[in-house]
């Protein structure tokens, strides 16, 4: 607790909560907020003494003075225009890089977590439910799932988000519905001061339904620090499929901590693809899957390309609770400059989870002598008839391969690009949406280009 005194944020959070608690009208949420706040207040922000944060010291990223109050009013005309312009620029950049690959997508805009319907291009009404989380509190799917998926115990950030989240997205896909195109969620983060933003999402995919979500993030580069502490709860019902892509680009001053926690039922498939590119100062992804039934599959693919002094940390937890579950994790990292990456993957196989297949692999290449990787695979197995494996590699760019390519007339830069793409190939080939793959490859190539020394 002593270290919290150095963080003015802790004090302002405590003060803010006292006010927020008085304003909370919905008792279900009110009680949850109070409970979550007590957890946060007792633990404070995690220090490196906490095993889960051993390699990622988040405290220096919390020292700035942050505004906790995020306007929940409708956007002013000027702000609306600004956001519209940012979105247009972002879409144009994507379309330029995926020429000839367009398949189209629905578009969902959230500004500092708040749903903006005017800027969104949504599927026809009735197909799927998309609304602000704050407007969904009476929905049965909300009542059934909200706050029941994300684990707040021993998770200060998730507890803090639960105590003080502003708003977020509520997406519900009814039974047997499959959307014809992916849903592109653009998270717009705006700051006119240093802000601490806490978006909160809930995605519910009912039985036999399927959805592809592609998340991207854009910010206004106004020189302010943005700390986003997000929580997304996901429920994937029987025989439902959710392919969830998250493309994390950003800039200096952006700090991102997020928890994505999902529950899965029988015959379901949840696949997560997390891609982190240079820019964002701090990225901590917590991805937690609860395989609550038998015969289901989960896929976790990660790719991180890091540069400058960036710190990118991926923590995963896969809980195999019932028999015949299959989980497959593949995280690959390319590290440049003084950047640092952490991979911590835990697989729990519970006593009842016989015939589990759990696979985990983390591979890294260091492009710089000053880059660091900390990889920590963990298996806890309480069943006796399972197949589990894990592996970690940390290597360097193969000079002989580089020379082979160059000896055929390929420039060093192109050769490096080819090798990074080749290294990433195991992950990128898993991307089911071709334009997403092309977009990602272009982003990687552009970043590699910047790294010419």
């Amino acid at each position: 607790m002593i270290n919290q005194l150095e963080t003015p944020l802790y004090e302002s959070i405590v003060a803010k909560f006292e006010i927020a608690a008085l304003q909370s009208r919905n008792t279900q949420i009110g009680d949850l907020r109070q409970q979550a706040f007590d957890i946060f207040k007792a633990s404070g922000f995690p220090s490196p003494k906490n095993e889960e944060w051993k390699y990622t010291n988040v405290l220096p990223f919390l020292k700035d003075e942050f505004e906790l109050e995020i306007s929940q009013d409708e956007l002013s005309e000027a702000t609306f225009d600004k956001v519209a312009k940012m979105v247009t620029t972002h879409i144009e950049a994507i379309q330029n890089s995926i020429k000839g690959e367009q398949k189209g997508a629905y578009r969902l805009i959230a500004v500092n977590g708040k749903f903006n319907e005017t800027l969104s291009i949504l599927p026809e009404a009735g197909k799927i439910k998309i609304q602000a989380l704050s407007a969904a509190t009476e929905e049965p799917a909300f009542i059934q799932n909200f706050g029941k998926i994300a684990t707040i115990k021993d998770n200060a950030f998730a507890a803090l988000n639960t105590a003080l989240f502003h708003d977020g997205l509520f997406i519900e896909v009814p039974k047997n519905v499959s959307l014809d195109k992916p849903l592109h969620v653009i998270n717009v983060l705006l700051a006119d001061a240093n802000v601490f933003i806490q978006p909160r999402n809930l995605f519910v995919i009912h039985a036999n339904a399927s959805l592809e979500i592609i998340e991207t993030t854009i910010t206004n580069e106004a020189g302010h620090t943005i700390f986003a502490n997000g929580v997304t709860e996901i429920a994937v019902a029987e025989n439902a499929h959710l392919h969830h892509y998250d493309i994390q680009t950003g800039h200096k001053g952006l700090r991102l901590v997020q928890r994505t926690e999902a529950t899965q039922e029988q015959h379901s498939n949840y696949s997560n693809y997390t891609f982190t590119l240079p820019g964002t100062e701090l990225v901590r992804n917590n991805l937690i899957l609860h395989l609550n039934a038998k015969d289901l599959e989960s896929h976790l693919y990660g790719l991180y390309l890091t540069a400058d002094k960036q710190l990118v940390d991926n923590h995963t937890e896969v809980h195999h609770k019932m028999p015949n579950g299959e989980s497959n994790q593949l995280y690959k990292g390319v590290l440049m400059d003084n950047s640092k990456a952490v991979f911590n993957g835990k697989i729990y196989v519970y006593e009842d989870a016989q015939k589990t297949n759990a696979f985990q692999q983390s591979n890294n290449i260091l492009f710089s002598e000053k880059a660091t990787v900390n990889a920590k695979p963990q298996l806890e197995i309480f069943a006796d008839d399972v197949k589990c494996s894990h592996g970690t590699t940390i290597g360097q760019m193969n000079k002989e391969s580089l020379f082979y390519l160059q000896s055929r007339g390929i420039s060093e830069q192109t050769a490096k690009n080819m090798m990074v793409n080749a290294f990433a190939f195991d992950v990128t080939q898993k991307i089911k949406i071709a334009p997403v793959r092309v977009y990602l490859e272009k982003l990687i190539a552009a970043e590699m280009e910047k790294n010419v020394h």
């Binding site: 000079k399 020379f403 390519l405 000896s407 055929r408 007339g409 390929i410 420039s411 192109t414 793409n421």
Partner: protein, 250 residues
């Protein structure tokens, strides 16, 4: 075409080439033979610009241009090709995209427009046929899971596509069975012309039955110690290298 004068080079302070001289003219095939450790592969490495090799003395000119000043890719663009003794496997890079990238970067260097997909495909088909390269391998990852013979044949296919001035074959015959050796040799023979030249590095005379050289050089202790016609290879096969070493010393 190629003029090597008094070339001294080595790796990490250890001198391997100790004053090597060689002149290669268009249309010629030069075989370089010699005992293990003589510096044959080092010569191939130095010519193609492999990192770690340091040239301490001498010059290498290709059509009047200083080869030693160039990056490996520029050497390739100027027309030097090295068929690797151990071709590298690069999973995730497709053979065909690799070649297309290579050819178009070379064309850009020469100020030429890149090939269209159609042109490239037609050319690739033509050359596959010429050097008897299996079409199935073309779309696979570069050399990944190829047999030793398939890797060497892929080198010859690349050679056919890139049409270098000077091709250096570094022990291309090693690890080949007799059928693969014939196919590889047939490919090379079809690619010979009065405009290009070959340096063939080999341990064994066998390859030279199929690819008949104009000159045979014996490399020993970093220098060419004997030069002759194709019959020198036969003599070496029969007598070994010791007599030449002795001759060189005396």
């Amino acid at each position: 075409m190629l003029s090597i004068k008094n070339l001294h080079a080595g790796v990490e302070e250890k001198e391997i080439l100790k004053g090597l001289n060689l002149e290669v003219k268009p249309g010629e095939v030069h075989a370089i033979m010699g005992p293990n450790g003589a510096g044959k592969s080092s010569l191939a490495s130095v010519l193609s610009g492999r990192p770690n090799y340091e040239v301490t003395e001498g010059s290498v000119m290709l059509d009047g241009k200083d080869l030693l000043e160039m990056s490996p890719e520029d050497r390739a663009r100027e027309g030097v090709f090295l068929a690797f003794q151990y071709p590298i496997e690069i999973p995730g890079v497709s053979n065909i995209n690799f070649l297309k990238t290579a050819m178009n970067e070379m064309r850009a260097y020469k100020g030429l427009e890149p090939y269209t997909a159609k042109e490239f495909l037609a050319l690739s088909k033509e050359k596959q046929k010429l050097v008897e390269f299996d079409a199935k391998l073309v779309n696979r990852s570069l050399n990944e899971g190829f047999s030793g013979g398939e890797k060497k044949r892929n080198e010859i296919f690349q050679l056919a596509m890139l049409e270098p001035k000077l091709a250096i074959l570094d022990e291309t015959d090693s690890g080949l069975d007799i059928d693969a050796l014939r196919i590889v040799s047939r490919g090379v023979n079809k690619l010979r012309s009065d405009k290009n030249a070959f340096i063939i590095i080999t341990h064994y005379q066998r390859l030279l039955d199929y690819i008949v050289p104009d000159f045979v050089h014996v490399l020993s202790d970093g220098k060419i110690v004997k030069t002759g016609g194709k019959e020198l290879a036969l003599e070496l096969e029969e007598k070994g290298y010791d007599w030449i070493k002795e001759e060189a010393v005396s």
